[in-house]
Amino acid sequence: VTQRDVPEVIVGMSDLSDAELVRQVQRGETERYAVLVERYYDVCMRYAFRMLGDRQDAEEVVQDAFVRAHGSLHRYQDRDRFRGWLLRILVNRCRSVLRRQRQATRLFVPYDSAVDAAATVEFVDPCWSRAVQRALQQLSPPLREALLLRCVEELPYEEIARTTGASVSAVKMRVMRAREQIRTLLQEKQNA
């Protein structure tokens, strides 16, 4: 559990909807954006870390996504959910990093003491935690992306299709294959 200093601006703002906060930021109240950052930083970090496999890379990407989202807030419309809109930006940032790294799969999962410690606190076996992360990294990026957006972030298939640019049926197929592959990889690990 991470102890956080709650910024003063956030106190009393947690009840406001995303749309209201976005409107306030659009009117020039920049500090209100801190509430949205506080609200979705965890979600973004989880996606980025699972996608990239490295916490430092994930932090850089998440920061970048938040800054870009703020810069593009004038394009945000109420009909979009802020979370989905933010995730779309994050997905694209992660894709850019993966393209730059030219790594289709990451077989080596770097040791991260903070992640291991968090697992221990939650009574999760760090070995299991790392095995899942390693198996996830062995999926191709499109499968990993679809799996995370559907099974972790629980976005509807239609929204995943809009976010990734794939058809709904392609997204469903990717999710199914990703589940099969990750299960197989973990069984192989257990058998070994």
Partner: protein
């Protein structure tokens, strides 16, 4: 149908990743830096931002000459303005030529040890215009350059005795309450 194996995998995938609070605060710092300030502040920042300027020798000389010309013009304009400021309002309104004339003031005061003048032209400051002894005993004199206009004045003998000029018309009233004379410089007045 429940799938415990997959549920365990999914639970692990959904587990939060530790967040560095410093990194999270950095987001807002970057956002604040990226916010474009309103145009007056942008303009001010542009004005005060230091920058390096390359100037050719010829360009430098031309700039220096222009600067010197501006300084010269400003100095002359300032001098003219200062002179005009000392003119009586009626003289300026009358459009009289600002031709300064030397006006001699003379006082006969046998027993005086010092004599001075106070008037409109020196802001009634006796110390500003002292009279000197002439070659004739008891006769004091001073020459004051004055632009056209009408001036009230008086002599001040030994620092405390105010005396009107016997050779000039008396002014009807003096704001200081003592004897006062008037002198008119310039024909049109």
């Amino acid at each position: 149908m429940r799938d415990p194996e997959w549920e365990a995998i999914e639970a692990e995938l959904k587990r939060d990743v530790p967040v560095d609070p410093v990194a999270m605060r950095l987001v807002m710092q970057r956002v604040r830096e990226a916010v474009v300030p309103p145009w007056p502040r942008r303009a001010w920042q542009w004005m005060v931002r230091p920058r390096r300027i390359s100037v050719s020798p010829v360009g430098g000389l031309l700039s220096a000459a222009t600067f010197a010309a501006l300084i010269l013009f400003a100095t002359r304009a300032g001098t003219d303005l200062a002179t005009g400021g000392a003119l009586p309002a009626d003289a300026i309104a009358g459009g009289a030529a600002a031709e300064i004339q030397d006006v001699q003031f003379v006082l006969v005061a046998d027993d005086a040890s010092e004599v001075a003048m106070a008037g409109d032209f020196n802001d009634w400051n006796p110390g500003a215009t002292p009279l000197g002894r002439t070659g004739v005993a008891g006769v004091w004199s001073v020459v004051v350059p004055l632009p056209p206009g009408a001036y009230l004045y008086a002599f001040v003998v030994d620092g405390d005795t105010w005396v009107a000029d016997a050779a000039a018309p008396r002014a009807p009233e003096n704001a200081f309450g003592g004897p006062t004379s008037i002198v008119v410089v310039g024909e049109e007045l």
